[in-house]
Symmetry: C2
Subunit: 390 residues, 2 copies
C-alpha cells in the first residue's frame, strides 16, 4: 500500500518560496538544473529529515519544474514520500544493486535521470563539487559530456542563511530544549556520579524536549571535564565527577532538523581564581559582541567586539567566535571572525561560540544561539550566563 503523507512541519508555500530563491540564483548562474546532495540543503528544500545521506542521494531542481525530484535509495523512498511536501511521483528510488557496489553508486541513478528525463546534457548543470569525491565528480563530467558543470557547493547554504519567521520559531523551540538540557546537567552533575550517567540524563532531556515539544533528534554532545577542559570534542569519559572538577558542556536541541546550541561551564566546588576571571571576562565579551549585532554590522565587527573586550582582562581567543547555525548545526557560510565581512541581515542565526581553549589542560566555554533582528539581536538560548557552581 502507498505510504501516507506525514504531518507537514512547514506549509507548501514555504518550500516554494525557498525553491524560488534557489531558482533565482540558478538563473544568475545560467544553469537549468541544480543537483543538491547536502543533507541539510535537502531538508531545507523538502522537509526530509530521515538519515539516509550516508549513501548517495540528490535533489534535482529544474528551473521549469515547480517541485524538485528527489532521487534516493529505494528503501528510503517511502520516508521521502511520507516526509516531503512533493507529490509522490517526485520521489524516485534507485536500485539496491547500487549499494555496496564497487562499480556504480546512487550518483549513476542521478545522472541517468538527468540524461533520460531532464534533458540536462546540453545545458548548465549546477553540482555541489565540494561535497563530491573525485570519482563522483568525474561521473558527472564524463557521463554528461555536453553539459556545462558549475560548482554550486554553497549556493543553497547562503540562501538558507536567512531564516523565515517559521524557521526562527523552530529554532526558538530548539533553543528551549537546549536550555532544558543545561538545566538537567545542573541538576545531575554531582561528585561521584559517572560522566556517562550525567549525559544519559541530558540526552534523555534533549529527546523529551520541553514545553510539550519533543526533541526530534539528538545532536552531538560534549562533556569535557578536568583534566580535559583544554579539549573540545570528547563526548564524555569513563570517569566519575570529582570534587574540584570543572566541566565544559556543549549540547544542542533539535526540532525538525533545526539546531540551537549552547555551552556552559560547570565547577564542582568553588571555582579557581583563573576560572572566575575568564568567566567574568567572557561574559563581558559576550555582551559586547551581542550589543554589536544589528543589520549592516559585519561578522568581523561582532568578533572584534569580543576580542577587544576580553583583551582588557588579559585574555585572548585564537579561534573564531562562532558561525552561522541552522539545519544540522553549523552552516558552511559566514564565520564570526576577524576579516569576515559578511553583513548581518535580519533573521540570520549564529552560534556565538566563545569556547576558549587556552592551555592544553585548561579551557572555558560559553555560548548562545542568537538571531539578528530588525534593530539588534534576539538571544534564543535563555540559560543564565553563570558559571554553574555545584
Amino acid at each position: 500500500m502507498p505510504v501516507i503523507k506525514g504531518p507537514q512541519v512547514f506549509p507548501r508555500a514555504e518550500f516554494l518560496r525557498r525553491l524560488n530563491a534557489v531558482k533565482l540564483e540558478m538563473g544568475r548562474l545560467e544553469i537549468d538544473a541544480l543537483i543538491v546532495g547536502s543533507s541539510a540543503d535537502i531538508t531545507y528544500l523538502t522537509g526530509y529529515t530521515a538519515k539516509s545521506g550516508y549513501v548517495p542521494q540528490a535533489l534535482v531542481i529544474s528551473s521549469n519544474d515547480e517541485e524538485p525530484t528527489f532521487i534516493l535509495r529505494r528503501q528510503d523512498a517511502p520516508a521521502a514520500i511520507h516526509q516531503t511536501f512533493m507529490d509522490r511521483d517526485k520521489v524516485i528510488g534507485y536500485s539496491e544493486a547500487l549499494i555496496g557496489n564497487p562499480d556504480k553508486d546512487g550518483y549513476d541513478a542521478v545522472v541517468d535521470f538527468l540524461n533520460e528525463r531532464d534533458g540536462a546534457n546540453k545545458r548548465g548543470v549546477g553540482v555541489q563539487l565540494g561535497y563530491l569525491s573525485v570519482r563522483s565528480a568525474e561521473k558527472f563530467k564524463t557521463r554528461l559530456p555536453s553539459a556545462r558543470i558549475v560548482d554550486c557547493t554553497h549556493s543553497v547554504a547562503w540562501i538558507r542563511m536567512i531564516k523565515s519567521d517559521l524557521e526562527i520559531s523552530m529554532m526558538r523551540d530548539a533553543a528551549a530544549i537546549a536550555d532544558a538540557g543545561v538545566q538537567k546537567a545542573f541538576e545531575v552533575i554531582r561528585p561521584g556520579v559517572r560522566e556517562a550517567d550525567v549525559m544519559a540524563d541530558v540526552a534523555a532531556q534533549l529527546a523529551r524536549g520541553t514545553n510539550g515539544k519533543a526533541g526530534t533528534d539528538l545532536a552531538s554532545m560534549y562533556f569535557c571535564s578536568s583534566p580535559r577542559t583544554g579539549t573540545c570534542h570528547i563526548r564524555w569519559s569513563e570517569d566519575v565527577i570529582r570534587d574540584g572538577s570543572q566541566i565544559n558542556l556543549e549540547i544542542a536541541g533539535v526540532r525538525h532538523g533545526y539546531v540551537s546550541a549552547i555551552m556552559r561551564t560547570f565547577s564542582v566546588g568553588a571555582p579557581s581564581d583563573r576560572l572566575r576571571r575568564i568567566h567574568d571576562a567572557e561574559v563581558l565579551g559576550l555582551e559586547a559582541a551581542l550589543s554589536t549585532v544589528k543589520p549592516g554590522a559585519t561578522c568581523s565587527d561582532v568578533a572584534n567586539a569580543f576580542y577587544r573586550t576580553i583583551e582588557k582582562s588579559g585574555f585572548q581567543k585564537d579561534s573564531r567566535c562562532g558561525y552561522a547555525i541552522g539545519i544540522d548545526w553549523s552552516e558552511p557560510t559566514a564565520s564570526l571572525k576577524d576579516g569576515d565581512m559578511t553583513k548581518l541581515k535580519p533573521n540570520m542565526t549564529f552560534h556565538l561560540m566563545l569556547g576558549n581553549w587556552i592551555e592544553e589542560d585548561f579551557g572555558y566555554v560559553l555560548s548562545e544561539t542568537f538571531r539578528v533582528t530588525e534593530a539588534g539581536c534576539e538571544v534564543l538560548t535563555k540559560s543564565p550566563r553563570q558559571l554553574c557552581v555545584i
Copy 2:
C-alpha cells in the same frame, strides 16, 4: 600546562601491530607515506575518538617511522595527545586560520608537513581519494607534483575488518549495551506514550551502558512506527504510540568507537497474521544464515542461505543482508549479499541486517551482530529473537 595521557583502552603493542599490517600493505603498494583521513581509520590506528573530523584532519603513516603523525586543528590537538598512544610530538595542531577559510584548509597543513618534514614529494603517497572532495584531491596532486599518488581509500578498512580478540571483547560489551537498549524499549513502549519519551529512555540506557560498562557515545537510533514501518531511517516521530501499532527499532551500543547493532520489531497488541508470518520466516532465515557462517564460506553464501529460506515462506528481500561492522558502525568493505565473494575469516564481524521493507507502508526488522569464529559464528547480541509483543 601539558595535558596528561588518558587511560589507554588498548596497549601500545596492539596499535603497533595494526600499524605494521598497514605498513605491509604500503610496501605492497610501493608507497612510503599514507595519508589517512577517515575518522574510523584514525580511531583504529591511534585510539582517538574525539569528534573533530568535521574539519580536515589526517594521520600520516611513514614506512620508516614507528609512530604515525596526527595533524589536526589546533584546538583538538590536546584531545589527540590525551587519547592516542603516540608521543606528544607526534600530534601537530594546525592554525585556526585554516578554519572557515575559503582559500586554504587543514589539508594544506598536511601537504606542508609532507613537503617540509617527510620528504614525500619524490615518492609514492597513498591518499584516500574516495573521501576527498575534488578540490582537496587537487591539492595533493598540485602541491606534491613529483609524488606518485596512489588511491588507498579502503586499504585500512580491509585491514581492520579482521578484529583482534581485544577488539572483539569491546564489541561484546557494545552488544550487551545494545541488548540493554532493546530491553529498555520493551519496558517503556506502551500505548499513549510519546515516541520521543521512549527514545529518551533508550538513549539514556545506551549512554549508561550495562554490567558496569558505560556507553561511550550514542550511535544513530531509528524508531519507525506505523504507518512508517516501510521506512528505515526516521529517528522517531512526534506521535504517541497507539494500540495496534508496530514499531521497527534499530539501535546500537558503542564502546570506545566500536559499535554493535541490533534491530527488533515490536507489536502493540496482537500482531497481524502478515507480521507473524514474516517474523517466523525471518527467524528461520536468520538461523539459516548464521549456520552458514564459518571460515572459508563467502558473504554471498550467507546471504543466499537467508534468501533461499525466506523464499520458502513466500517472502523476498531486495536489499543486502548486512555488512561488515566495527568502528563507527558500518565498514566500507564486504556486504552480505549475493555475489560478494569475500571469504569469511575468524574475527570478522558483521551486522546481519535483515530489515525487510516490503511495501511502502509495511516493513519488518530483525538483526544480530556476529563474529566469525574458528569453526562457525558467535552471535554477540543476545536479545531474544522474538516479535516483541506489548
